[in-house]
């Protein structure tokens, strides 16, 4: 049973498991690529709906966690071995040599001359230089675990709903959060990455218990585990339209995704052959209409496939042309928002931070002070020497060999 468990553990903690599983997914990706151009989306959908594939994917975080535990234990063993020289972990040292008895005084002298720190305890001597790479490795493995756990959770549990939030209107009911959009404000923002900041002031709750919360662009705001992920800006102009053949006036706020200026969207007038398309005109001053609130619309009136009228219409203006009358008395700002429930997302963010930490720790240690270790153990009249190096291995090997040459000559 113990052998079986040991075998299971060695498979689960094998460094080959994650690359093999990723290779399997790469193979599935290649096969899908023969049949569809939306390969990644198709692969994600396939994994989501396929229990064996989910199980296969879930083996990756399990494997990474097992590797993390094994390497932590190995690191701890090595540290203790360095101090006590007992029970040296097998396979973790790159060189192993047997010598005759070594004089402790000469050994200390040679180690000091080589610039290594050392500690003598009983019959053993541990010499070392530099800092272990293990903290960086720990952060990397932890980050990898969070990344794949996050991907797994996100793939299997993510729910997303796109809707628009409009100034002065309640939040969409489907979101499941009661609130009212008080104000939407776009501002110039001189950030390193973002050029604009967006504030959506939303009054949550009702009556006296209502409190106003601001939701920005990044990081996205969250209520009850639902992220507010702003995607695109739009406008809800109040449009009044009267065609020549009818006295009936169409009057309504219409949702148009026409930001940035130049982008076109339109509305089909109900129970009529008319369709009106709009674009926001970019002001000559370069000022952004969404920031200034001064909207100037270019419109085209189509009757079937024929264009019957076109022109420009400022906020508060009315245009009468060819018997058609179009008014634009008011406008509300709107934002297309993805309401996302994704418990895996925090794991992905944590993974990003851990990878950053791993890089910050790894590069200086590896470049300037990689760990190099030599252990001398005297047993039954002979000396066993173990050595390992995480970097500058050739130089370390040369120092060790010279040290051993001198120690042998003095025997």
């Amino acid at each position: 049973m113990r052998r079986l468990l040991r075998g299971f553990h060695s498979i689960i903690a094998s460094r080959a498991v994650t690359p093999i599983i990723l290779g399997c997914f790469a193979l599935i990706y290649i096969i899908i690529a023969f049949y569809t151009d939306e390969t990644l989306v198709a692969l994600m959908a396939l994994v989501r709906s396929n229990s064996p594939l989910i199980l296969l994917l879930s083996c990756i975080p399990v494997n990474l966690l097992a590797i993390l535990c094994r390497e932590t234990a190995q690191f701890s063993d090595r540290r203790h071995a360095g101090l006590s020289a007992k029970g040296l972990p097998v396979g973790t040292y790159q060189e192993r040599v047997f010598l005759g008895t070594v004089q402790t005084g000469l050994l200390e002298k040679k180690i000091e001359q080589s610039g290594y720190h050392y500690r003598i305890k009983g019959d053993s001597c541990a010499a070392w230089k530099g800092i272990s790479i293990f903290p960086a490795r720990f952060l990397f493995l932890m980050g990898s675990f969070c990344l794949f756990a996050g991907i797994l959770v996100s793939l299997t549990t993510r729910v997303s709903l796109r809707d628009v939030v409009i100034e002065g209107e309640p939040l969409p009911e489907a979101v499941g959060v009661r609130g009212r959009v008080e104000q939407i404000t776009l501002r110039q923002h001189n950030g390193i990455i973002l050029s604009h900041s967006l504030d959506m002031n939303i009054a949550l709750g009702e009556g006296d218990e209502a409190s106003v919360r601001k939701f920005g662009v990044y990081p996205p705001g969250r209520i009850n585990g639902i992220f507010f992920y702003p995607r695109y800006l739009g406008l809800a102009p109040l449009i009044e339209f009267t065609p020549p053949e009818s006295g009936q006036v169409f009057s309504s706020y219409i949702k148009l995704m026409i930001y940035p200026p130049g982008k076109e969207d339109g509305v089909q007038i109900p129970r009529s052959p008319y369709r009106i398309s709009f674009t926001i005109i970019e002001p000559m001053t370069g000022a952004e209409p969404y920031i200034t609130g001064k909207f100037n619309l270019r419109f085209k009136v189509l009757k079937g496939n024929d264009q019957v009228s076109e022109g420009t219409l400022p906020l508060g203006g009315t245009v009468s042309r060819g018997g058609y009358t179009l008014s634009f008395p008011d406008a509300k700002k709107l934002v297309a928002v993805d309401f996302v429930k994704d418990p895996g997302l925090p794991l992905l963010w944590i993974a990003g931070l851990l990878f950053l930490g791993a890089i910050v720790a790894y590069i200086p240690i590896r470049m300037f002070a990689p760990r190099r270790e030599i252990i001398f153990i005297q047993r039954n009249g002979s000396t066993e020497v173990f050595s390992r190096a995480e970097g500058r291995a050739a130089k370390h090997r040369g120092i060790l060999h010279n040290m051993l040459d001198h120690l042998c000559q003095s025997q």
Binding site: A16, G23, D37, R96, I192, H196, P220, R231, M257, C408
Partner: protein
Amino acid sequence: MPLLVKGLTLLILWGVLVVGLTRAFAARKSALTAGSVLGLITGTVAGFLLFGSFTGELPFAIIKSLVAVAFISLFIVAAFAWHKDPAPAITVFSPSLSDHPAVTAMAAFLTATVFAILAVCRLSNSGDNATVLAVCFILLAMVELWLVVYRLEPLLPSVLKMPRGGLPLLAVSLFLFIASSSPRLDLFSPLSMKVMKLIHDFVHQFFESMLIPDHPFFRTDVWAYIGMLFSNSVGFWGGLIIWFIPAALIAIAVFRQPLPSVAHVRQAATRRKLIAGHLRERRCLLFFPFFATILMAVAVYESGHPSVEYWDPKPIAVKADGAGTIHIPVKDGETDLKDGKLHKYIFLQGAKKVRFFVLYRSDELTVVLDACSICQPEGYGQSEGTVICYYCKTLIPLETVGKPGGCNPVPVSFTADAGGVHLSAVSLINTWNEQVQSAKKVPGGPE
């Protein structure tokens, strides 16, 4: 003459492959020869059967898939070569297993079969007497096999050894080299396109997954940097990285071989000599991977510079009438829309330029954009029975031009009568904007 050059090139490549086989299975020359001869015969018969049974693009698609499978398998071989302690069952080319005559014969058989199929494909489609010449070529290849295995290979320096995974690398690189000389078999161009699409999809999914805002909120300079991920060259460089990964892994595997422990040797000079000897041996192991890398690099070059010439007329400028309709007559001077060649046109409106072409195929006219909705709009050229997308080098049979999807040119709505074809300028511009301009090149894609 070109057929002779093709045949000679293939014979040289076969010679190189046989040298590689002999170095990998030096102890089993008779098994190697038997396996190779059988493979050459099988491959030749399979090749002729394939081209005899199917017409059009299907035989090429089957052979291309065969090469693709070999290329994908190479990744698995390279991964195991790179891994320090490969599982015993997988080390097909480890010294102990390669000594077995059945393994030697099987490896030689598979390699020779694929080579012969590719040779038949390259030679039997090159002219009237090509079939006879292809058979002659295979007979010559058998003679060459005997010459190389028993006469030439023993003369080569013994230090040139085959590393773990080296033989599959050499064989697949040769297959890719042969395949790249024909646009129908080339793998690098479709790989580049798939890589570009993967990068696009990955960035898009990354933005969505991490809830990163879209371009209206980004600084333009930062967005320009992100936009570089969707440029033509990213697909090429990404494809190049994938192309050379197996060769790199096998070369790294050679470097990862641990140096012998010399800590027990107490003479520094002896230690240095031992290490230097081992390093020299390791360097010699890189000969075959290096040669394979050169072949693969040449394959990339050939893929980008196909020797086939395509019919690609200069686009003729057209204008819309007062009602916004573009009329193209069936016969206009020397132009005849029904001559079976593609006829390119360009429509200009303000700063907008729309390229499209008219083609007569399957007894009817069709109008399509000179672009697809996947690739960068570099346009199409026409060769026998197909049009080729210049960006991804995908060949599209003429009978499918006018059908939407994949790398097919985007269809445009039009009407045709005895006088010519008529299409709406607005519809043409909208189709270009929707399918070409905004369907790609930005992380979020169309909004």
